[in-house]
C-alpha cells in the first residue's frame, strides 16, 4: 500500500505545474552555478597566482637583509578552493588571510580581493545556495496542500474510509515529495557536473566524487526536514492557503530570522572585548614593560650593532611583542569561541545545519581558517628556528633578537630557496565526513521529530 501511495504521489507531482517550474528553475540554476564557477575560479586562480608571484618578488627584494626578511610582515591569502562549486562556505565574507612573520602570527583579515564593498551583499550561486533557498522553498510548496488540500476538497474522509492506515498515508505523501525533489537535485547535479567536465577547467577527482556524495546525503536530509515542516503545517491547518502561509512564514523564520536573532544574542551571551580595550591593554602592557627596563633602552647607533644598548632594546622589543601577543591571542580565541557558540545556537535552523555540514565536509569557511591558523603557528616556529640558525652563522651579528628592528641581528643576504615554505594541509575525506557526522545526525533527528509530530496530529485528526 505504501508503494501505491508513493507512486500515486509521484505521478501527481510529475504532472503538476509546480514540478515543471521547479525542474526548469533547478536546471537553470545548476547550469548557471557551474558556468559562474568556471569563470570565477579561473579568475580567482589567476589573481591568486599573480598575487603569490608579487609576494615572492617582494620577498626576494627583502632577502638582501636577513633581519628585514624575518621581520617582514607577510599576509598569506587562502587559495581558491576546487570544491567551491558545491559551497563557498562564506569564505569571501570571513577572514581569509593570515598575517605573520618569523617572530609571530599577528592576526587575520579579510582581503578585499575581487569584492566590491559598494555592492549590497549577495550570495554566490552554488549548489548550497540552490538547496538552502530554492529546495527548502520547493519542499513547502510541494507539501502545503498534501493534507490540508484533501481536507478542503473533502477527499481525505474518502481516502481514510478505505483500509489505509493513516501512518502509511502520511509516510507515502512525505516520501513522494522527498523522492521527487531528490530526483530534481540529482538531475541538476548531473547537468552541473557535465558542464564542469566539458569545460576542462575543473578536475573531478575521487575526492570530489566523495564530496558530491556527501553533499547529496545532506541535501536529501534537508529536503526531508523541509518537507516534514510543510507536512506539519498541512496537518495543522484546515485550509491549504493558511497552511502555505504558515509554512512560508516558518521557512522565512528558519532561513532569516533565526540567524539574525543569534547574531544579536551573540554579543550579549558571549561578549568579546572591543578593539579599543585591546589597544588600551596593549598600551598599558607596553608602559609597564618599558618602565622595567633601564636607561639607554631607546638609544641606537646605526653603524655599530654590538652597542650594548641594542641588547636592552632588543629584549624590550621582544617583551613588547610577547606581551601584545598574549593579549591579542586571548582576544582572537574569544572571537573564535563567540563564533562557535553562535553557530551552535543557530543549529535550531535546519538550513544552517546543512550549511555547517557542508563546511565541515568540504573543509571550508571557519574550519579551513582554523586549520590554517593552527598550522601557521607551527610553521612560524619553524621559520624562526631557520632564521636563528642562519643568524648564528653570521659573525657580524650579536644575535640579540629584535622582532621589529634590524639593529642587532644578521643583515646578510639570504638564499630564498633555503627558507621553509608554508603550504596548506589537506584533510582526508574520511576525517571530514566524520566531522560533519553530527550535522547529518541532527538533520535526521529534526526530520524524524517533525514528522513524528505530524504523524501524531494526523492520527488524532477527526475527519467528521
Amino acid at each position: 500500500m505504501l508503494k501505491t501511495i508513493i507512486i500515486r504521489e509521484l505521478q501527481n507531482h510529475l504532472y503538476s505545474l509546480r514540478f515543471i517550474i521547479a525542474l526548469m528553475l533547478t536546471l537553470i540554476l545548476f547550469g548557471t552555478s557551474s558556468v559562474s564557477f568556471i569563470i570565477e575560479f579561473k579568475e580567482q586562480k589567476s589573481t591568486y597566482e599573480q598575487g603569490m608571484t608579487k609576494i615572492q618578488e617582494n620577498m626576494k627584494n627583502v632577502a638582501s637583509n636577513a633581519s628585514n626578511f624575518a621581520q617582514n610582515i607577510n599576509a598569506i591569502p587562502f587559495a581558491p578552493r576546487n570544491s567551491a562549486f558545491i559551497a563557498s562556505c562564506q569564505e569571501e565574507s570571513i577572514p581569509n588571510t593570515i598575517i605573520y612573520n618569523a617572530f609571530n602570527v599577528y592576526g587575520y583579515d579579510i582581503t578585499k580581493g575581487n569584492n566590491n564593498p559598494f555592492i549590497m551583499p549577495a550570495k554566490n550561486i552554488n549548489w548550497e545556495f540552490i538547496m538552502v533557498l530554492l529546495f527548502s522553498f520547493l519542499a513547502i510548496i510541494f507539501t502545503f496542500d498534501a493534507v490540508a488540500g484533501e481536507k478542503e476538497m473533502r477527499t481525505l474522509a474518502l481516502s481514510l474510509s478505505n483500509p489505509v492506515s493513516r501512518g502509511v498515508m502520511l509516510t507515502g505523501k512525505f516520501l513522494g515529495t522527498v523522492i521527487i525533489l531528490t530526483m530534481c537535485v540529482v538531475m541538476g547535479i548531473v547537468m552541473s557536473i557535465l558542464i564542469l567536465l566539458f569545460s576542462g577547467q575543473t578536475m573531478i577527482t575521487y575526492a570530489t566524487i566523495a564530496e558530491i556524495g556527501g553533499f547529496l546525503l545532506l541535501s536529501f536530509l534537508l529536503i526531508a526536514c523541509a518537507s516534514a515542516i510543510g507536512l506539519l503545517t498541512s496537518v495543522l491547518c484546515y485550509s491549504a492557503n493558511t497552511s502555505l502561509l504558515i509554512g512560508l512564514m516558518m521557512w522565512l523564520i528558519l532561513l532569516f530570522i533565526i540567524p539574525h536573532t543569534t547574531l544579536l544574542l551573540s554579543n550579549k551571551l558571549f561578549p568579546v572585548e572591543s578593539s579599543d580595550v585591546i589597544t588600551q591593554n596593549t598600551n598599558n602592557s607596553r608602559k609597564i614593560i618599558e618602565a622595567s627596563f633601564p636607561d639607554g633602552k631607546w638609544h641606537s647607533e646605526s653603524n655599530n650593532p654590538f652597542t650594548p644598548d641594542h641588547q636592552i632594546r632588543a629584549n624590550m622589543q621582544m617583551e613588547f611583542m610577547l606581551g601584545e601577543k598574549k593579549i591579542r591571542d586571548n582576544w582572537y580565541n574569544s572571537q573564535f569561541s563567540q563564533y562557535v557558540n553562535t553557530s551552535k545556537m543557530t543549529l535550531i535552523s535546519p538550513m544552517f545545519i546543512f550549511e555547517m555540514g557542508n563546511e565541515h565536509m568540504l573543509n571550508g569557511g571557519f574550519q579551513r581558517f582554523k586549520n590554517n591558523w593552527d598550522d601557521l603557528h607551527t610553521y612560524q616556529g619553524q621559520f624562526l628556528a631557520w632564521f636563528k640558525a642562519f643568524d648564528a652563522k653570521d659573525p657580524q651579528s650579536p644575535h640579540w633578537y629584535n622582532p621589529y628592528e634590524d639593529y642587532s641581528t644578521s643583515k646578510s643576504k639570504i638564499n630564498i630557496d633555503e627558507v621553509p615554505v608554508y603550504s596548506e594541509s589537506i584533510i582526508p575525506f574520511a576525517q571530514r565526513i566524520s566531522q560533519s557526522g553530527i550535522y547529518i545526525a541532527l538533520l535526521l533527528v529534526y526530520s524524524t521529530i517533525i514528522f513524528f509530530v505530524s504523524f501524531m496530529l494526523f492520527v488524532r485528526y477527526d475527519v467528521r
Binding site: 509546480r18 528553475l25 492557503n241 547574531l263 631607546w298
Partner: protein, 516 residues
C-alpha cells in the same frame, strides 16, 4: 459602486486568516528588527563619539606638526535603522595620512567586531518590508479574480449593472486600502521604538525622508498586488495562480538579485585589490630609492654619515618627536624632512592614480549591477531606501570626496606656511633650545627628567604642544534629499513603469475575459 466593492473587499481581506497571520508576523518582526537596528545605531553613536574625540585630540595633543595626521569622521544617521544599505560594509572613519590618499574608510560600523560573524544574516526594516509585505500582497491578490471565477460569483456580478472597469478598480482599491493600515501600523511601531531610544533624534529632513520611504513602500507593494491580479486574471484556478505567483515572488526576491549581481560582476570585472596594493608598493620602492639618494646628498651637505638620537618617540619618514639630540643631527633631520615630506605627498598623488582607476571600476560595477537589479522590485526598494536613508554608495562617495579634498587643503597649508622646513615639524624644541654637544644633550635630558618627572620614557607632554588653531578642520556637508533621489531616478522610473504596465495589462486582460 466602486466604493461598495472596495469596502466589501477591504472587510473580507481584513478579517481573513491570511491577513491576520501576516499582520501578527509583522507585529513581531518589525519592532524586533527595528529594536536590533537601534542597538546597532547606539553602538555606532558611541563609537562615533570616541572617534570624534580622538580626531580632536590629534590637534589638541600634538607636540609636533608631523604627528598631525587628521581623521575625518562621519556621524551615523538614525535613518540607517530603516535601511542599512552598505553602511555596515564601509567604514565611518578616514585617516588622512601624508603618504596615501585614502581609498576606503575604516572603522567598525557593525555592533560586533568579530569578522567571523559576517557569516550570519542581518536584517533591517526595509528587508522585512520587502519580504513579508510582498508575500502578504501575493496572498491577498492571487485569487482576486480567479476565486470569483471558481465560485461562479463573477458571472453573477457582471450580469448586473456593474461595469468591468468599476469592478476592477474596486478590487484593486480594496487590496490597496487593506495595506495602508498595515503599513501605517508598521511605521507607527517603528516611531514608538525610535522615540523610546535616548540615542535617536530625528530632524525635519529625516521625517521628510521617512514620509517618502512610506510612499515608496506603497508603490513597491502595489507592484505585487497588480502582479498577483494579472496572474489571477489569466489563471483558470486559484491554486495555479498561487503557485505561479509564489514562484515569481521567490524568483524576483531571491534568485534574480543574486543572478544580476553575478552578471554585473562579469560585465565589469575589477582587479584584485591586493594587486593594486602591490603596484602601489612598486611606487613605494621607487620612493625609497629616491629617498636613499636624497639621504646621501644631505649627508654630503652636512658632513654627517651616521645619526645619533637620544630620544625619538615616533616616525614619519624621518624621526618625529626628536628630543635632546645635538644640533648637527637636528640640522640633518630638518633638511631630510624638508625634502622628504613634499616627496611623500607627490608619491601619494602618483599612487592615487592607481587607486582612482580601481575605485572608478568599483563604482561602474555597482552601477551596472544596480541597473540590472532594477528588474527585481525588492532591489529597487532597497536602492531607493538606501538613498533616502543615506546608506547608499553615492552618500559614502560624497563623504570620501570631501575627506580627500580636506586632506589636500590640509597639506597645502603645510606647504604654503613652510611647516615642513621648521624644527617644530619634528621636534618640540625651539632652535635656541637645541643642545650643541652630546654632553649638553645628556645634561638637558637629565634635568628634564628631574623637573618634569615623566610617567614613561615617551611622556613628553611637559615639553608643550604646537599651536593648531590656524590649521584647517574637516566639516562634512550632507547631501540633500533631491541629490540622493536624482541618483535613483532611473530605477525608480522602471518600477513606476512596471506598475503602470501591470495595471494596464491586468485591466485589458480582465476587460477582454470571456465569461462563458
Amino acid at each position: 459602486m466602486i466604493w461598495h466593492i472596495v469596502k466589501k473587499d477591504f472587510l473580507d481581506n481584513f478579517t481573513s486568516a491570511r491577513f491576520v497571520v501576516g499582520f501578527l508576523l509583522c507585529l513581531f518582526l518589525v519592532p524586533y528588527t527595528v529594536y536590533t537596528g537601534t542597538k546597532v545605531y547606539e553602538s555606532r553613536v558611541e563609537k562615533y563619539q570616541r572617534d570624534e574625540k580622538n580626531a580632536n585630540e590629534i590637534f589638541t595633543k600634538a607636540q609636533v606638526y608631523a604627528q598631525i595626521q587628521p581623521m575625518a569622521v562621519i556621524q551615523p544617521s538614525p535613518l540607517n535603522i530603516f535601511c542599512k544599505g552598505i553602511s555596515e560594509q564601509v567604514g565611518s572613519l578616514v585617516n588622512l595620512r601624508n603618504n596615501e590618499v585614502p581609498t576606503f574608510a575604516t572603522g567598525i560600523t557593525t555592533m560586533y567586531e568579530n569578522q567571523f560573524l559576517n557569516r550570519f544574516v542581518s536584517l533591517d526594516f526595509v528587508n522585512i518590508l520587502a519580504i513579508i509585505l510582498s508575500l502578504i500582497g501575493v496572498f491577498l491578490s492571487y485569487d482576486i479574480f480567479s476565486r470569483e471565477k471558481e465560485d461562479g460569483t463573477l458571472k453573477l456580478l457582471l450580469s448586473n449593472h456593474v461595469k468591468r472597469s468599476d469592478f476592477f478598480l474596486g478590487k484593486a482599491g480594496g487590496i490597496l486600502l487593506t495595506f495602508i493600515p498595515l503599513l501605517l501600523v508598521c511605521y507607527i511601531l517603528v516611531f514608538i521604538i525610535l522615540w523610546i531610544s535616548p540615542f535617536v533624534s530625528l530632524s525635519a529632513d529625516d521625517y521628510a525622508r521617512i514620509l517618502l520611504l512610506f510612499l515608496f513602500s506603497l508603490l513597491y507593494l502595489s507592484f505585487f498586488i497588480f502582479l498577483g491580479s494579472y496572474i489571477s486574471s489569466k489563471a483558470r484556478t486559484s491554486s495555479t495562480s498561487l503557485i505561479i505567483n509564489l514562484f515569481i515572488w521567490c524568483f524576483l526576491l531571491f534568485l534574480l538579485p543574486n543572478a544580476m549581481s553575478y552578471l554585473g560582476k562579469n560585465i565589469v570585472k575589477i582587479d584584485n585589490y591586493s594587486i593594486v596594493r602591490l603596484n602601489m608598493g612598486d611606487l613605494d620602492g621607487e620612493f625609497w630609492e629616491k629617498r636613499g639618494e636624497l639621504q646621501q646628498q644631505v649627508q654630503k651637505e652636512t658632513g654627517l654619515e651616521n645619526h645619533s638620537w637620544n630620544l625619538c618617540a615616533g616616525w614619519n619618514y624621518g624621526p618625529v618627536l626628536l628630543c635632546f639630540t645635538t644640533l648637527d643631527n637636528m640640522i640633518y633631520e630638518r633638511k631630510m624632512h624638508e625634502s622628504t615630506a613634499p616627496m611623500v605627498l607627490d608619491y601619494a598623488t602618483k599612487k592615487w592614480h592607481l587607486q582612482e582607476a580601481y575605485l572608478n571600476r568599483l563604482y561602474r560595477q555597482q552601477k551596472i549591477i544596480k541597473y540590472l537589479s532594477s528588474l527585481s522590485p525588492s532591489e529597487v526598494l532597497k536602492y531607493v531606501s538606501a538613498s533616502l536613508c543615506k546608506s547608499d554608495m553615492e552618500s559614502h562617495v560624497d563623504f570620501m570626496n570631501q575627506a580627500r579634498s580636506y586632506r589636500e587643503q590640509f597639506f597645502n597649508y603645510y606647504k604654503e606656511n613652510k611647516i615642513f622646513s621648521s624644527y617644530n615639524y619634528f621636534s618640540p624644541h625651539k632652535e635656541s633650545e637645541i643642545p650643541k654637544t652630546q654632553e649638553e644633550a645628556v645634561i638637558m635630558q637629565a634635568q628634564w627628567r628631574l623637573t618634569a618627572k615623566p610617567e614613561s620614557t615617551f611622556d613628553l607632554s611637559s615639553l608643550g604642544y604646537v599651536s593648531t588653531s590656524a590649521l584647517p578642520r574637516f566639516i562634512y556637508n550632507e547631501r540633500g534629499i533631491l541629490d540622493g533621489l536624482a541618483d535613483q531616478l532611473w530605477i525608480f522610473a522602471v518600477l513606476i513603469a512596471a506598475c503602470t504596465v501591470l495595471i494596464w495589462i491586468t485591466y485589458s486582460s480582465f476587460i477582454k475575459y470571456d465569461i462563458r
